[in-house]
Symmetry: C5
Subunit: 86 residues, 5 copies
């Protein structure tokens, strides 16, 4: 998993139907608790994280699994926010 | 997910049958809204994106999932354009 | 697989239900037996590893497989500690 | 997907049974049409590409999917040549 | 696929049950036939490779597939040696 700070939202009106309702967040990644110059875009996995919060992100096919309980069809995600770090 | 700008098309006449009809786009990746020196080739996932547009890309096995609704057989994709950023 | 040293725990109270009970460990990765400047966060796969121990980590969809025997539903993990190096 | 130029063959006599018949090609990767210093080894996915040709490569689990139609058992591939660039 | 030279064994007595019997090898990766400064740990996929031999490695979910024929339950591997280069 990756840890990072949410820096903003990405808005996409024209997107695949399976992504309607997903919130895309730009996340600045951390390494050993320090901010890095790396970023990725993750979908909020229902933990209600907002800008400035430190979050846990899962990647790859497990990102899709992380969205399964809330969606009837698979969501083509490759990065999902699954927790907020205390 | 990744964000980037479509820079061109890649044309491949001799390809696997499962890829017939797929549009291959060369995408220059962005990081925190800035262009980087990284590129990848993604298949258009039916959002109708063209050269110069900023797009969202999903990678890995979810790229294949992103093409499932439009194809009767699995498409061997590892990067698909799933949205256009406003 | 990757090898690394466990450097700390990451605590996340607000997280997906499927992750309740999982222990998140920050791991400093090694290369040919030397410590590197790379880190990742892995879930303890039941081997009981603690801070300072050298561990083996599996990544990607196999991380999810590594947690299957202990969970009734899939855990959205992308990195799991599967062994302790002697 | 990745684009690159085939630079040579890798010969492996002692290999897993599922890989018998697979052709391993060393590919020099390109970025935005320029050659890079990165290489990977991909299996020919039946498009008949030879040394010096520019090809499209799919990676990850989709590489396995790209070989499914020609094999009765799964081939443990992580990179397959799926097209030749015009 | 990746090519590399086996540099040593990693011994792990305390590990997940599904990994009992697996041999972990530290491999120094090659690029276009030259050694690099990159390493990974791969499980021997039954090809009998030893220290100093040049091998082919498959990564990701295909690593798990590469071990399927020899195991009744899935092995949580993300890198497996599938061939020895001549």
């Amino acid at each position: 998993m990756l840890r990072g700070v949410i820096r903003g939202n990405i808005v996409s009106t024209r997107k695949q139907d399976s992504l309607v309702g997903s919130k895309f967040m730009e996340v600045q990644l951390m390494k050993n608790g320090e901010l890095t110059d790396e970023y990725l875009i993750a979908i909020d996995g229902g933990v209600g994280a907002g800008i400035g919060e430190v979050v846990l992100i899962t990647t790859g096919s497990s990102a899709r699994v992380a969205l399964e309980s809330n969606h009837s069809t698979p969501v083509p995600a490759d990065a999902v926010i699954v927790g907020i770090v205390d």
